[in-house]
Symmetry: C2
Subunit: 456 residues, 2 copies
């Protein structure tokens, strides 16, 4: 076999602009709402919590292309372009006629795609004279990325790490500390939101929703401090489009165009990051690529949630977001894909799903680890439990292509490696992992009160 | 700053041959000896333990270039070329006029350079009809690499993992198991060598020397089984020269040539891998590059050892190797750079050191973690404790250049990342790590009996 396996861009070919899909969407996402005024969120509402540049990007519905600042692009060069890889080993293991490609974001120094937005947000904060930032992290991928980004721009960072991940993934905590960040398990006693939940549920294992509440609260109470988010919001997804924009050029180098693009789904930033640049051609150029969001069966907001205005966090500090949601106080099972334990989807993805521009698939924990092991043995890379959701759906589609005897071109995002998640693999190998599913009645009861609470 | 940061080769530019420095050395290394016959090791002696192709490479003193098999080159393409990176961040942090480059072997799917030889050795074994292989591993970098390589070529693998690393680095054990390898802590009760040392020293934490004894013993007792080694020997270093050969082309792309090349030193394969292709130009073309092996102060075979014939393993199963050694039963302190806890240096490096073709520096554990933290914060990459020895010496040389006001070009090998070694970083951050040094008298007493035991 003498075909090219990895496709890389030169530093000059690294994208100069991010892609803002909202500008091209026929049905724009509904606006986020201020829960106090019950009116669409204004720039002023946003800048109370976020830095100005990110707030502007968040509300930008007209500019399809937003320039990547030179300083950010310069730091991107430390690890970008990431390779687009033809997964010959996986194709062989599955005996499929499908051509499988993956974008390997795991080779970023931090081990995941998260750095793409962390560097941008830290840069903007620094530019605006911010000295301190706060954030939440689930599995720790985002926290690790932001810790390095904060250090690179000389900012002080406090990270609220979801308690279950704090315990399951102590190495990620050490990584953040090595970069100089303050890390605390969430729920913590250091915020009102944390104290409230600890009082009501002393053994609560935490969730992204709770950690966000704590980080927002601390940011609002600290002088010269902004809150920084790792997913869900439009500006975060915007920064992640560098993934798909690179992949587009790289697929062209490979002489192919994807029939199916797959990303795992937590808040939507890695999914949107790889998909939106390709979806642009569905919107504008009549392409018919399928886009599949792979979410855990234990946290199925896209496949079983309800489209509704809801809070982005547990305590209700955030604006109201038009989202597919399981309810902002949904408590996800302790799966190892900590980055996917979030109750809702961002407003862009929610609108696109509603409009049939994309699909969603839910997968069970044991199936994701089985897929991860097949992938690891075939390609030599241990994938993150989050990314394994995308791999699982990619394998399902490749086997479907085999059954149908069709040569499909499948692209998925390998959002990160799983080297810090080996305790989960250990449990899987020992047979100690299990599946979690959510019943319809549990979801219904969780959502039933939503109209009363959020009365727009 | 708009200069290029990372230099990559196309798949076509990946080297087609490894470089065998022995062919160009004026003083050849002394031959290895068969301890029974007391005569130079023959091909037959070697093939009892190793596969034939590796045995031939081991004894080859005439061919400077040895072709990389197409199947191996094809698997190299999964991750090679690895980037050559200009460490602008580190240069800035140190305020040095030196230009610092590192070859980033940490982006291999396994996280270190070890895959370069693992793939080659597994391929040769498969070609020769071998079905089972055994090996040892210290920190687990080699074991992880060989586990994937064995799976890629359909071989069964048993790994003896040094006990202290087995306990300090459980994630690496899980990685090996995810790839389908059998992993056992060494010393174990499953071999004569293991039982003997456990009986004499029940709490012995293990060493590479002991693990090698166990792996060799099992290979000799198992039908259709060969032993595979991760460092020290000539053929392993040969396979690693792909690092330096790539770096040579990449330095040319950067328009520079190194004044100093640095590698950390365990058995010598990553050191030789990056250095020998450049050293070739010292031998043949009158270049005057300095080559520095960075070893732990707690295991200082190059700086404080004695040049002598010695066994490669603790039990005395291996041939006698002409090496700088601390004695084959030297018991190294439990530093976290498990891959450097080995008593001797390979015969090529030992000869080169004797002939003044290279230098050695010993560094203390706390200094290596300090250097690692500076590097991590400046470049965003958490280095392996082993690689941090090279970083430490690179920083020392860069600061010397600053003091002298000289613009030196420094190249070091980042042999692997430290994401699996975060417990060590944790201890460092908590102030719980300490330095270990070996006294001259301890070394003397350890070496004093060597002449009697090894009476050639």
């Amino acid at each position: 076999m003498d075909n090219q396996k990895r496709f890389l861009l030169t530093e000059k070919e690294i994208p100069t602009h991010w892609y803002n899909i909202v500008a091209d969407m026929k049905n724009k996402p509904l606006p986020m709402m201020n829960p106090q005024t019950k009116k669409p969120l204004t720039l002023d509402d946003m800048t109370g919590v976020f830095c100005k540049a990110c707030s502007e990007q968040e509300l930008n519905t007209t500019d399809a292309w937003i320039e990547i600042p030179e300083e950010v692009r310069n730091l991107y060069k430390n690890y970008r372009s990431t390779p687009l890889v033809r997964a010959y080993g996986l194709e062989k293991a599955l005996g499929t006629p499908a051509h499988i490609y993956f974008k390997n974001e795991s080779v970023s120094p931090i081990g995941s795609h998260k750095l793409n937005s962390a560097l941008a947000q830290a840069y903007y904060c620094k530019q605006e004279g911010v000295t301190n930032i706060t954030t939440e992290t689930g599995a720790g991928q985002w926290g690790a990325a932001l810790s390095y980004a904060a250090k690179a721009f000389g900012l002080e960072l406090a990270v609220f790490m979801v308690k279950i991940s704090f315990e399951q993934k102590p190495y990620r905590r050490s990584i953040m500390q090595t970069f100089g960040a303050q890390v605390v398990a969430s729920p913590s006693m250091s915020t009102k939101a944390g104290r409230k939940i600890l009082t009501e549920t002393p053994n609560y294992q935490g969730s992204l929703g709770t950690a966000i509440s704590e980080a927002v609260e601390l940011a609002m109470q600290t002088p010269n401090c902004k809150y920084v988010l790792g997913s869900v919001l439009n500006h975060v997804t915007l920064h992640q489009t560098v993934i798909g924009l690179e992949a587009e050029k790289q697929m062209e180098m490979a002489g192919e165009y994807p029939d199916i693009v797959i990303g795992c789904f937590g808040g939507g930033s890695n999914f949107g990051g790889i998909c939106f640049p390709f979806m642009r051609h569905n919107i504008l150029d009549g392409k018919t690529t399928r886009f599949i969001a792979a979410e855990p069966a234990s946290c199925p907001k896209l496949t079983k949630g309800k489209f509704h205005y809801d809070f982005g966090d547990e305590a209700g500090y955030t604006p109201l977001i038009p989202m597919f949601t399981l309810g902002h106080n949904f408590s996800p099972a302790n799966i190892h894909a900590g980055g996917l334990r979030y109750h809702g989807a961002g407003s862009i993805v929610s609108q696109l799903l509603k409009d049939g521009m994309m699909e969603a698939a839910d997968v069970k924990q044991l199936d994701t680890f089985k897929a991860a092991t097949i992938f690891a043995q075939a390609e030599g890379i241990i994938p993150a439990p989050e990314s394994s959701h995308a791999i699982c759906v990619a394998i399902q589609e490749a086997l479907k292509a085999k059954e149908e005897g069709k040569q499909k071109t499948i692209l998925f995002n390998l959002s990160g490696h799983g080297l810090i998640d080996m305790s989960a693999y250990d449990m899987y190998l020992r047979g100690d992992l299990k599946n979690y599913e959510v019943s319809d009645s549990e979801i219904d009861s969780n959502l039933s009160g939503l109209d009363k609470i959020i009365n727009l």
